[in-house]
């Protein structure tokens, strides 16, 4: 697999070759003369911060966008990829983060959607459909029945079904976009094994990721994008973590900031025996001003539900929520916001940011009262405020008037943050604040969380990223199956202790 074993690649060994690709959107140059080549059987990592141009590159190669200039060659032949069908016909297939399967159809139907096998009477040939689907599922290594409905599959299984579909169209170029973002360890291992096998069978893969350490053993070469340009292509052996961070951010490898000493103040939030049937039970905790409390646990441990209950988005079945010594029972997010609570949700595009609204309107949405005059909003002041937030948080957008959909994921997350920083909230609830966010944006979000605590706000963060937990927490509560199973002070704590609690711990 390594480059040492192979002679220098020649044009004939390049399955996909991209040269000088450029694409501009109104106000933003998304790609600026990017080149990249992919050999058969190669796993080529594509790294970069949010907004660096990875998504744009993928969308051009898969026919969703058209490049302004540049050339794409497949097997050395120049091609014009007009639309997704053309890309498919050329053997290019993309496995997206947001999975593109139809939930109410079976696995077999999904695999052959749009390319159904027909009997001579133009009815669907079910026997052949299921046989072929079985063959493809065996190739990717899952033993679920082909008649299973996609809605009944886990995320990891769905991903494998998507890959099976790609193999079904004889994809020779497979693009994986952050495929492990929501997979468990076991699922990730299985996916990696599959990537390895596909590479051996000659499929060329572009693997988009934020986390090089995770994929390093799989990868042959790495291309890093920054601000729409390629910073270079490197054999994976030449890179270490520091080098990657400095390539991605353009700064010399910033050392991880030491855990700051905070001096927590009075208790702001108390939960006493808070319970919601089937989601979490008997949760009691205190959060002080100037303190960052982290709830950690596996996906499905009940953290999101707990935060949403405190925020009034779900009714509690029992227990008490006490804010500044006064019991409250928020019946809606509106009530909670009125009491000074903010929630930055995990599902950014579904619940955090309204992507078709302009950036400025997203930033001010929860704080419109600040701009309300007698009969109307002071739009000029609103714009001034939005510009300030954009500058303060380093949100990369062509204009405050641009729709939020034109921003990268990390910048959308900063818009969601800006929205709540615009309110008078005293208690900030963060649900997986850095999921799918690049290294640079991650650091900035940590800095903001630190600032909030320093300014006397109380902060609760739900996170399953153990490095993140250790980095930002004052105190850590381990949650398992809806119960608190351990409490740790984050001073001389080992990550393994916390991990052990969230995976095996019993309720105290």
């Amino acid at each position: 697999m390594s480059d040492l074993a192979n002679p220098a690649p020649t044009a004939s060994e390049t399955v996909l070759s991209i040269a000088g690709l450029s694409k501009a959107f109104p106000g933003v140059v998304a790609l600026d003369g990017v080149s990249l080549d992919l050999h058969p059987g190669e796993v080529h990592a594509l790294l970069g911060a949010n907004g660096a141009g990875k998504s744009t590159l993928i969308k051009i190669v898969s026919g969703i966008y058209r490049a302004d200039s540049g050339e794409i060659r497949i097997d050395g032949e120049p091609v014009e990829i007009r639309d997704a069908q053309t890309a498919q016909a050329l053997g290019i297939s993309v496995i997206y983060q947001d999975l593109a399967l139809t939930p109410h159809l079976s696995v077999a139907e999904n695999i052959f959607l749009g390319r159904e096998f027909l009997t001579p009477l133009h009815m669907i040939d079910w026997k052949r459909t299921h046989e072929e689907a079985r063959r493809l599922l065996d190739r990717v290594g899952i033993d679920i029945p082909t008649t299973t409905k996609v809605r009944d599959l886990g995320t990891g299984q769905k991903q494998l079904v998507e890959i099976a579909r790609a193999l079904g169209i004889d994809a020779r170029i497979l693009i994986l976009d952050e495929p492990t973002a929501s997979l468990s360890h076991a699922e990730t291992d299985r996916l990696f094994e599959l990537v390895h096998r596909l590479a051996e069978s000659g499929v060329g893969m572009i693997y988009v990721s934020h986390r090089l350490e995770e994929i390093a053993p799989l990868v042959d070469r790495v291309t890093v994008l920054r601000d729409g340009r390629s910073v270079g292509t490197f054999p994976v052996g030449e890179l270490d973590r520091r080098k990657v961070v400095s390539l991605i951010t353009g700064h010399e490898g910033a050392s991880t900031p030491a855990h700051r000493k905070r001096l927590p103040g009075e208790i702001l939030l108390e939960l006493r025996g808070l319970t919601r049937q089937g989601e979490f039970s008997d949760i009691s905790l205190d959060v002080r001003r100037g303190e960052v409390l982290v709830l950690t646990g596996l996906v499905g441990a009940g953290r999101t539900e707990l935060l949403e209950t405190v925020f009034g988005a779900r009714p509690a079945d029992g227990g008490e929520i006490i804010l500044s010594g006064t019991p409250i029972s928020p019946a809606s997010p509106r009530d909670a916001i009125g009491a000074g609570i903010a929630l930055i949700p995990e599902d950014r595009r579904g619940r955090g940011v309204s992507v078709i609204m302009p950036v400025f309107a997203n930033i001010t949405l929860a704080a419109l009262g600040r701009f309300a005059r007698r009969f109307r909003l002071d739009l000029a002041q609103e714009m001034t405020h939005a510009r300030k937030m954009i500058a303060d948080l380093g949100i990369r957008t062509s204009s405050p008037l641009a729709p939020a959909s034109s921003l990268s994921g990390g910048n959308q997350q900063k818009v969601a943050l800006a929205k709540w920083l615009s309110t008078d909230a005293e208690l900030f609830l963060f649900d997986e604040p850095t999921q799918g966010v690049d290294v640079g944006a991650k650091e900035e979000i940590y800095r903001l969380i630190d600032e909030l605590a320093a300014n006397g706000k109380a902060v609760v963060v739900a996170s399953s990223d153990i490095e993140e937990v250790m980095e930002i927490a004052d105190r850590i509560l381990a949650v398992r199956k809806g119960r608190i199973v351990g409490e740790f002070d984050n001073r001389d704590l080992k990550a393994s202790v916390v991990m052990d609690a969230i995976t095996h711990g019993d309720a105290k």
């Binding site: 988005a313 992507v355 078709i356 929860a366 000029a380 609103e382 714009m383 405050p400």
Partner: protein, 331 residues
Amino acid sequence: MSASNTNGSRAGAALTGMASRIDPATVGPAAALALMFIVYSVLSPHFLTVQNITNVLVQSAPLMILASGQTFALLMGGLDLSQGSIVSLVSVVTAGVMMHFGLPLGAAAGLGAGIGIGLVNGLLVGRARIQPFIVTLGMLYITAGAAMVVSDGSSIFGLPRPDVDYFFWFGGGFIGPVPVPTLIAVILIAAAHLVLTQTRIGRHVFAIGSNEQVAVMSGIDVGRVKIFIFLVSGGFAAVGGFMLSGRVISGQPLLGAGDILLQSIGAVIIGGTSIFGGQGGVLRTVIGVLVIAFMVNGLNLLAISTFAQQIIVGAIIILSVWVNTLQRRRT
């Protein structure tokens, strides 16, 4: 000072999707309107006359008002199918009450009935959380039935003088050279535009249409905003119905049973407001109404049958959505 004003007006424009002057979604319908003016002016000597233009503006004033209200419903990602029936109900209630108690009480009762239907729509959508399509489809029938019950199924003629003359004034009078219905329409359109672009509740309408979950999580009282939306949609339909009744100086239980509902929805769509909500505005709808009104007027002048006209209006609705879709796909 002037810089910050520009800031503000651009912010309002960005919400309605008219941030840049060359925004294709706005230019398309406006260009169609301009092209129509040129073609009709060449083909018919009667088209580009003060008399004809005034006529069209007077006749299209009720539709302008209905469609402006309808824009609110589409912006939140819904629609209001009960507008036509509200026109009918307002007509017979106004005329019926006016017969015995005079115009002021007739107007109050008629407009009140229309706004009441809007309120019921709003409560069912906003509080009972039923789909706008279902609620207003049901109310379409209920309100149409109520109009027939109130009037016993027949037209109400012979309204008392002098009230009937004032009544007509609202539907066809003039202040100097300015037709009253057009004036009322302009005032309501301006108010609707200001509410949508410059007020908090207007912003909430866009927020709900853009992503209702985000609106809820941002602390917006979504139910209250929806009630407001259907009050506007129903209230505007009531004013339109009042005007139309004034023009025919009678109460007509089938006054809104014809084209006007579908034209109201069609005009919003032709104007370029998204049927999925969150993008669009009242000024676009004005262009949409003008496209329909002048299209029909020109075809009349060219002596093309009303049957053929329907085919053309339908084609324009599909075409305008198609053009919009193509433009969105390109970006």
